[in-house]
Symmetry: C2
Subunit: 453 residues, 2 copies
C-alpha cells in the first residue's frame, strides 16, 4: 500500500457485516459531498454546515433504493481532516452493496484497510502511536487492554516521547552550535550537566522498555500453562478455574495458533489457559520426544502452573520436575499441590498452594497468586506502558545510540560525534510517532486495520 | 410485548454485532438527551439544535471509555418522533457493552425487538404497513423483494388503502344519514351508483389479493423442486443451473426448514431450488411410503421441474409420472427431457425442454421458462403488490363483507344493514394500516423485528 496524496475520495462500510437495523457507510475526500448529493438527489449539501444530519432518499436513476440519514463533517473538522460523510442506511446486505456500488459509480473508490486513519495521520490529526491505538482499541477484549489503548489514543505515550524528543533536539543543537565556533573551542553544552541529562533520558527510556513486558501482558493476556504428570488433575483444575464465578469465561481464537484457548479474565487481565498433555512419569521423561511439544508450550508461556497429585508423589519428586521445567527460559512457576482432600498425602507440600480441583477448594488462592504475579510487573495506573513491539524496538535502538553518546561524552569525544549519536536516537524516536516515516512502515501499520477505519 | 406509553427511554445497538470500525447505539425517549450528557460529560446538548453531530469523550467516573460522535434528533423530527440520540463509538464488543451498561445505569432500558419502529408507529410517523416494510427491507435479499419493500415503506400500499377507506367511509356515512331521516324514507345514496362503486372497490381489492401470490414469490422467492426418477440427472441439472453465469448463486438458511437451500436469482427473483430424492421407478411408486417426503416437497412447491432420461424412458412414461404429480395441488410443471446428447433417444419428447445437463446444453431455455412463469403472474412495475399474509387475510375479510353489502343492496336490504357491512370491511382495512390495533397484533408484528430497529 502506498499512501496516496488524498486527492481521491474513499469509501467503506464502517459497521460490521451482517443484518442489522442500520449500516453506516463512510466516505472521505474532496468529492465526498458532491458524490453524496448524487446519491441522494433530494439533498443539497453544498451550503450545509459541518456536523449536521440530513434525511434523504437514496436513488438509482428513477428507482428508490432506500431512505437514509447523512452525517456531514467538513474539512478540517472531521476524523480524517478531509470532508467526511457518513451514510446510515437500512442494514441489509442488498442495500449496502447497492449504495457502495453507486458511490463508486459516482467517483469514490473502495478504501483500503486503515485508510481513513492513515489519512487522519497524514493530515496531522493523530500521530502514529495514536493511530495504532485506534486499532488496538477496537481489538481490546479486556479492561486492561482497553484502558491502555484509550490512554495511547489520547496521546499519553506521544506526550512522553515529545518531552524526550525536545530535550534531545536541544542537546544536539547546542553541540552542533559549538561546531560553528569550532576554531574557538567553546562549549555551549556543559559536559557534566549533559551527561546527567542524557543519563536521565536513558533511564526514562529504560522504564518504557521495561514496561513492554507488562504492556504485552495487558494487551495480549498472560499465557499460563497447566503442566504436570498424567492424572495430576490438570483438566479438572482448568475447569475449576474457568467455572468459578466472577471470572468471564470465553473462547477466543488464538492469534498465533489455530487452536482455541480458554480465557480467564481476572480483574481486567486476560489469562490464556492451556491445558497440556501430561508429562510422562518416567525418570528421564524430559528426553522423550513426545513431551517436546508440552515443553515448547511451557517455554513460550509467562506462567506455568505446576500441579501434582499430593496423594501420589512427594514434594521432592515434584521439585525435581519443576527444576527441569525451570531450565527452559525465564518462566514463572506456581506450585500447586492437588488432591489435598485425599488422605494420606505424601508429607509436607512446602510453599505450594494446596487445592482440591475436584471440590473447588483452594482455587481462589490460586487466582490471587495469578493476579499477584501480574501486579508484580509493577503496573502503576498513571505511568505509560509500551504495548507495541514496533515501539519497543525503536526505543531499544534509540537508547543504544544514547548510551553510545554518553560513552562518547565520558571519553571526551568531539561534540560532533556525540551530536550524531543523539540525532540517530532522535531518528528512532521519530519513527515511533511518525515524524519519520517510510511507505513500507505505513503500509505495515495501516494494513493491519479493519476496513472502514 | 405490551406497547408502553413511551414514558421511558429505550436503547439498543443498531448495527450488527461483531468487530467493526464503529458501532452505533441508538437511544429514544424523553431522557435520551439528559442520559447522553451523563455519558459524555464534556457535552452540553441542552440547547443543541436537532440534526447536529457532536464529538465527545465517553467517561465512567474518572475513567475514559472512548471517544464518540453523538447524533442528535429532537422530537418530533426523529425516526420515532421522540428525542433520539445515536452514539457512534469504536466497534469493539468491550466498548459497546460498557456504553450500553452506562446508559442503563443512567436510566435507559434495553429496547425490545422493533420497539423503535413501534414508537414511530404509535407517534404517527408510519402506518403499520410502512413499519412492516422496514422489517422486510432489512430482510430483502433480491432486487424484487427490495423494490417491493421500498415501495411499501414509502406508503404505496397505504395510499391505495386510504383511497378505498375514504370512499367506504363516505358510502357508510350516506347510508347512515338516511337513518336519521328514517321516517321520511329518503335515499341520499343512489342505490345503482352505490352498487357500481362497491363493485369497483371489490375489484380493486380482488386485484390486491390476487397480487399476493406474486408478492409472496417476490418476497420469499419461488420454490422450485427438481423431481424425477433416480438417475434422471437431477443433481447434474441443479449444478448446471447454479453454475451458469449471470445468476447469483448463494446458500441461504431456509426459514421454515433447517435445511440449506440453493438459491438461483434470475433477474431479481429468487428461485429456491430443491433437489429431491429420485422417485422410485415402479408402477405404483406413488403409494410407497419412502416417496412421501418428495411428494410433500412437491405439494408445497410453486414449480416442479420434472426431468427424465430421454435415452431411457419414453415421453408417455414420463407423462404418466407427471399426471400423478399434477394431482397434488396446483403446482406448475416444467417438463425437461434430459440426456439429449445421448443417441438414440426414446422418440419424440413433445413440448418438453430438451437439455443435456451434463454438457450444459438447453439450460438457458429452462431459465427463460422459469422466468416466464413468474412474469405470467402479471407483475406490473407501477401496481401495488401485497406481500404480507396478514394484509392478505384482512383484505379477504374486508372483501367478504363488501360482497355481503353488495348482495344486501341487490336484495334491497335496509341501508342500516348495508352500512354495517361496510363498517365491518372498514374495520379489517383499518387493521392493515393500524387505524385499528390490538396489543396482540402489535406484539406480533414488532416482535419479529431485529433489536435496535
Amino acid at each position: 500500500m502506498k499512501p496516496d496524496n488524498g486527492n481521491d475520495t474513499i469509501t467503506a462500510l464502517s459497521t460490521p457485516e451482517g443484518k442489522g437495523a442500520i449500516g453506516v457507510i463512510r466516505m472521505s475526500g474532496p468529492d465526498a459531498i458532491r458524490i453524496t448529493c448524487k446519491l441522494l438527489p433530494s439533498l443539497d449539501l453544498s451550503i450545509a454546515k459541518s456536523h449536521t444530519l440530513h434525511f434523504g432518499t437514496v436513488k438509482d436513476g428513477m428507482e428508490i433504493v432506500d431512505e437514509a440519514v447523512v452525517g456531514l463533517f467538513r474539512s478540517p473538522s472531521s476524523f480524517t481532516g478531509e470532508d467526511v460523510v457518513e451514510i446510515s442506511c437500512h442494514g441489509s446486505h442488498f442495500i449496502i452493496s447497492k449504495v457502495m456500488s453507486l458511490l463508486i459509480k459516482y467517483g469514490a473508490r473502495t478504501a483500503r484497510p486503515g485508510e481513513f486513519t492513515l489519512r487522519a495521520f497524514l493530515n496531522g490529526k493523530y500521530d502514529l502511536t495514536q493511530a495504532e491505538a485506534i486499532s488496538d482499541l477496537i481489538a481490546a477484549e479486556t479492561e486492561a487492554a482497553h484502558q491502555i489503548a484509550v490512554k495511547q489514543m489520547r496521546g499519553g505515550f506521544s506526550g512522553d516521547l515529545k518531552n524526550i524528543r525536545q530535550k534531545l533536539i536541544e542537546y544536539a543543537s547546542l553541540l552542533e552550535l559549538e561546531l560553528d565556533f569550532g576554531e574557538e573551542d567553546v562549549q555551549f553544552a556543559n559536559r557534566k550537566e549533559l551527561k546527567e541529562q542524557l543519563q536521565d533520558i536513558i533511564s526514562d527510556i529504560n522504564r518504557l522498555t521495561d514496561s513492554f513486558r507488562l504492556g504485552n501482558v495487558m494487551k495480549r493476556g498472560v499465557s499460563a500453562v497447566i503442566a504436570g504428570r498424567p492424572n495430576a488433575g490438570k483438566s479438572t483444575l482448568l475447569n475449576a478455574l474457568l467455572n468459578e464465578q466472577k471470572a468471564i469465561v470465553s473462547d477466543i481464537p488464538g492469534t498465533t495458533r489455530d487452536a482455541i484457548e480458554s480465557t480467564l479474565v481476572i480483574e481486567g487481565i486476560a489469562f490464556r489457559l492451556t491445558d497440556t498433555a501430561g508429562i510422562r512419569d518416567t525418570t528421564d521423561y524430559l528426553e522423550k520426544l513426545g513431551v517436546e511439544m508440552t515443553m515448547q508450550t511451557i517455554e513460550q508461556a509467562h506462567i506455568v502452573i505446576y500441579l501434582w497429585d499430593a496423594a501420589e508423589i512427594t514434594t521432592e519428586e515434584a521439585e525435581r520436575d519443576i527444576e527441569k521445567i525451570g531450565k527452559n527460559g525465564n518462566v514463572k512457576i506456581i506450585r500447586v499441590a492437588n488432591k489435598m482432600d485425599l488422605k494420606p498425602i505424601m508429607g509436607d507440600t512446602g510453599d505450594a498452594i494446596p487445592v482440591s480441583a475436584k471440590k473447588g477448594e483452594g482455587i481462589g488462592k490460586l487466582k490471587e497468586q495469578l493476579k499477584k504475579m501480574v501486579l508484580d510487573l509493577n503496573y502503576k495506573e498513571e505511568s505509560t506502558v509500551v504495548t507495541n513491539a514496533r515501539h519497543y524496538e525503536a526505543l531499544v535502538n534509540a537508547n543504544d545510540f544514547l548510551k553510545k553518546g554518553l560513552e562518547g561524552l565520558e571519553s571526551n569525544h568531539s561534540g560532533e560525534l556525540v551530536s550524531s549519536d543523539i540525532r540517530s536516537a532522535l531518528y528512532y524516536i521519530g519513527l515511533i510517532t511518525g515524524e519519520v516515516t517510510t511507505d513500507d512502515l505505513l503500509a505495515n501499520i495501516f494494513g493491519r486495520f479493519c476496513i472502514g477505519k
